[in-house]
């Protein structure tokens, strides 16, 4: 069995020992969750930023990720993190401790060192979680993920293949919406004013045909699936076996080591703090 696997992957060039794209999706996902859990107990900037930098390194070294795409997906979280940072720094939940030094102030707005610490942890934490999620998302093929969920987690095929069929429709929807916008503009119905009534009207105008189209497409897809003998029940002998290899365990060990190292490093620096209801 094993040599069948290796036969199949012969044409794929493998310059690196560990490739995120080739890992088992379920184990990869579980690893990410396992990293998030302990990290959510820690609440200091040093641990979080160490873990963040190392996550980025792992993504960069072991993943084949387009950085443009990564930045594009990361940027909303960056904005969110800045927002969190600002809110938590300027408007801390608790009254500033009397002993805490004031870092800077403009009129009534002042940032104390304690509030700054909390805000920074919070902002970095957002970034860390999104970096970990992107590590998973950008290196995982949806088909492989579904196959893996069926093979390792016994997800019912009915659900898994349904999701896959739906996944195929997403780009079609976008295309259909843009055609429809043009078609409506031709009819003189293109202008949507920013009033609630007008927006509601637009939702109805685009929503109903899109839904009607979606129902028709899904019906067709369902009929096509049934006519290919799909029942959604029974045992399947999967052609593409998604295996769990030592690489998956190595990746999990590496990621957990990163978490441990971050905490240890922070402890050595004397900055490690557990989460204590700061938010």
């Amino acid at each position: 069995m094993l040599n069948v696997q290796s036969e199949k992957s012969v044409p794929v060039p493998r310059p690196r020992l560990l490739r995120l794209e080739e890992l088992n999706p379920v184990i990869k996902g579980v690893t990410v969750v396992l990293c998030v859990l302990p990290l959510s107990l820690v609440f200091d900037p040093v641990t979080t930023s160490t873990a963040l930098v190392m996550t980025l390194l792992v993504t960069w070294i072991f993943g084949n990720v387009s950085w443009r795409r990564w930045l594009l997906l990361f940027s909303p979280f960056l904005v969110l993190a800045c927002g969190y940072f600002w809110t938590a720094a300027v408007f801390p939940r608790e009254q500033p401790e009397p002993g805490s030094a004031i870092l800077w102030s403009i009129g009534p707005v002042r940032v104390t060192a304690a509030a700054f610490q909390v805000a920074l942890s919070l902002g970095l934490r957002t970034l860390l979680y999104s970096a970990l999620s992107l590590l998973f998302m950008l290196t995982t093929d949806p088909v492989k993920l579904m196959l893996s969920l069926m093979q390792q987690c016994k997800l019912p095929p009915k659900l898994a293949y349904g999701i896959l069929a739906g996944f195929r429709f997403l780009p079609l929807f976008r295309e259909e919406l843009s055609i429809m916008q043009r078609a409506h503009r031709v009819r003189g119905a293109g202008r949507i004013r920013r009033t609630p009534r007008s927006l509601l009207e637009a939702l109805k105008r685009y929503g109903i045909p899109l839904l009607a189209g979606a129902i028709r497409k899904s019906e067709r897809a369902a009929v096509a699936m049934v006519s290919r003998g799909f029942t959604g029940t029974g045992r399947r002998d999967f052609y593409d076996r998604i295996r769990v290899t030592w690489r998956d365990w190595a990746f999990m060990a590496l990621m957990l080591a990163i978490v441990a190292f971050s905490c240890g490093f922070s402890y050595a620096m004397g900055t490690l703090r557990w989460y204590n209801g700061e938010l």
């Binding site: 195929r168 259909e176 043009r182 009819r187 009607a212 006519s227 290919r228 003998g229 029942t231």
Partner: protein, 592 residues
């Protein structure tokens, strides 16, 4: 391939189908038909008569997977198959659907075929080999690892056929497999399928509007009427010979070779004075190949008559009389006095750095019908969006009546340029048919009484009376198309752009629509039509533009397109109309 064994492979006995939401209204009523071993049976019928539903009854999807009431029986090799188990059914009756985009469940070709085999519980060790065999049959072995959405329409349909074949079905049902393809891809698919049945013991049921690529391979014909019952079952030539009139009335496409043959017999017969020319001598040719064989075998005198008649036929577009009011003099080439309504200069449009159209210059004159054709994905639809001002060109300019498009007010531009989209549903904006037609009048702030009058006029003209309060989405495909055209035409646009307006229409609807568009052009308005149908181009268009890879590869009257080298036409995915092919064949045989 004469079948020696006349025992039917598949036998449908008095099948009736009722869908739950149409209680009392049968989709199919008492359909009986048989498929014989190794034969291709063609199922014909007007739009919406339940052909596709019949296909789904035969492979057990009705009533197994879709709630419905089916009576009657389906027998396979004389036995009632266990159609309750879809895995078994799929191995018995394979099916290929019309829409290449909504019949796949996976991303790559290999995954899709593996999915089929996993479904029927095929052992893993056999899957790889069976995928390879199936791909070899449809000649797609080099596409195994490719993602399905990157393939062309014809390739996608071949993947769908492979997905059916990989389960080794006894019967293959093809539900309008070529309606989304350009003519050359359609012909290729038909040829491939014909070659396939020489390799495999395959019985094929074909449902198709577009007869011409298939007709020469069809062994038997089954015709259904609007009520969902079988009207004819037997040899195709007998049907088209004896019941041509009924077929035309029911909206069934006629093989174009047969229509042309009749017309030529009439022309040559009248002038040639042949005794037997009045009634049809010998069998009626149905395909282009048969027609050419038939006519090149006739005596030289008749051939000469036919050549003359064909030339006249092909040239009728070039006659100024057909161009209506717009032409002033009998100048060779397009008259200078013709008014140019829309002019595009060096248009380019880029999508994600890829040139979708590049450096296109063209003009649309008053009183002409301009056809735009070319392979799928050549940039035709994008060109239309740019010409109508819906998309901004990356470079170049479009002028309407001498004024650049950006200088026009949106409302005014829309009342000058009409646009009919490929799918009528996309264009519908209102809740009822009446409101749909009244929509643009209301935008113009006309009085309700005036609107009422105009809408009633439109309802009558487009045969939509009695449907005023229906939801546009509940109409049939043909009615939806008429509604979308009626709603668009409620203003008198100078220019009408139509993106494959005959898509999904039966013979009757398509002809009606095209002659309506021709009439508009004859009134001195301009019509631009995207179409794959070269017979329509020949019959209705004054000029034709061939696009490929975003640029114009040919521009001129249809007749000069047909005389281009075969190699060029093949590259563009075009097949000239039958009349042109016949003329060419006769001229080669008799260089006079």
């Amino acid at each position: 391939m004469a079948a020696v064994d006349r025992r039917p492979v598949l036998e449908a006995d008095r099948i009736s189908l009722k869908l739950d939401d149409h209680l009392g209204d049968d989709v199919l009523s008492s359909v009986s038909m048989s498929l014989y071993k190794g034969e291709i049976t063609l199922l014909l019928g007007p739009g919406g008569c339940g052909k596709s539903s019949l296909a789904l009854c035969l492979n057990g999807i009705y009533p197994h997977a879709v709630e419905s009431v089916v009576t009657g029986s389906v027998k396979l090799f004389g036995e009632t198959p266990d159609l309750r188990h879809p895995g078994k059914t799929a191995q018995t009756v394979g099916i290929v659907f019309q829409d290449p985009d909504s019949q796949f469940c996976m991303l790559t070709v290999e995954q899709e075929l593996a999915f089929c085999l996993e479904n029927i519980g095929c052992p893993r060790e056999e899957i790889g080999g069976r995928i390879e065999d199936a791909l070899k049959l449809v000649q797609l072995s080099d596409c195994r690892e490719k993602e399905i959405h990157t393939l062309s329409g014809g390739q996608k349909q071949r993947v769908a056929i492979a997905a059916a074949l990989v389960l080794r079905p006894k019967v293959l049902i093809l539900d309008e497999p070529t309606s989304n393809l350009d003519p050359a891809s359609a012909q290729l698919l038909a040829d491939r399928l014909h070659a396939l049945r020489r390799l495999l013991p395959m019985t094929i049921l074909l449902i198709e509007h577009n007869l011409d690529p298939w007709i020469e391979y069809v062994d038997r014909l089954v015709v259904m009427d609007k009520q969902g019952t079988v009207r004819y079952e037997g040899k195709p030539d007998a049907f088209f010979m004896n019941q041509a009139h009924e077929a035309a009335q029911a909206g069934i496409w006629h093989p174009r070779a047969a229509t042309l043959h009749r017309a030529l017999i009439r022309d040559a017969g009248v002038t040639g004075g042949q005794a037997d020319a009045g009634d049809i001598p010998g069998p009626l040719p149905l395909s282009a190949r048969e027609l050419i064989e038939e006519w090149t075998g006739y005596p030289a005198q008749i051939q000469k008559q036919a050549t003359r008649s064909l030339r006249a036929r092909l040239q009728k577009n070039a006659e100024p009389a057909r161009r209506g009011a717009a032409v002033s003099e009998h100048a060779a080439g397009p008259g200078v006095a013709e008014r140019i309504l829309l002019r595009a200069e060096r248009l380019s449009f880029f999508r994600r750095k890829r040139a979708v159209i590049q450096e296109i210059s063209l003009s649309v004159r008053a009183g002409e019908l301009l056809a735009v054709t070319g392979r799928n994905g050549a940039g035709k639809s994008t060109l239309f969006a740019v010409l109508s001002g819906l998309l901004e060109p990356s470079s170049g300019s479009v002028t309407l009546d001498g004024k650049p498009l950006p200088d026009w007010k949106e409302a005014e531009l829309r009342s000058r340029i009409g646009f009919i989209f490929q799918h009528p549903e996309h264009q519908l904006v209102a809740d009822t048919v009446y409101d749909e037609l009244a929509y643009s009048f209301r935008l113009q702030n006309r009085s309700e009484t005036e609107i009422g009058e105009r809408v009633n006029g439109l309802l009558q003209r487009f045969r939509l009376e009695g449907r005023e309060s229906f939801s546009p989405f509940s109409l049939s495909q043909g009615q939806k198309r008429r509604l979308s055209v009626a709603a668009m035409l409620s203003d008198e646009q100078q220019i009408l752009l139509c993106d494959e307006p005959t898509y999904g229409q039966d013979a009757h609807g398509a002809k009606e629509l095209m002659s309506g568009l021709r009439a508009r052009a004859d009134q001195g308005l301009a019509v631009v039509v995207i179409t794959h149908d070269m017979e329509f181009v020949q019959e209705y268009a004054d000029r034709v533009i061939v696009m490929n890879n975003g640029s114009i590869h040919f521009e001129g009257p249809p007749i000069s397109l047909w005389s281009k080298p075969a190699r060029f036409l093949e590259d563009q995915g075009l097949i000239p109309p039958i009349a042109a092919r016949l003329l060419q064949a006769m001229e080669v045989g008799d260089p006079c």
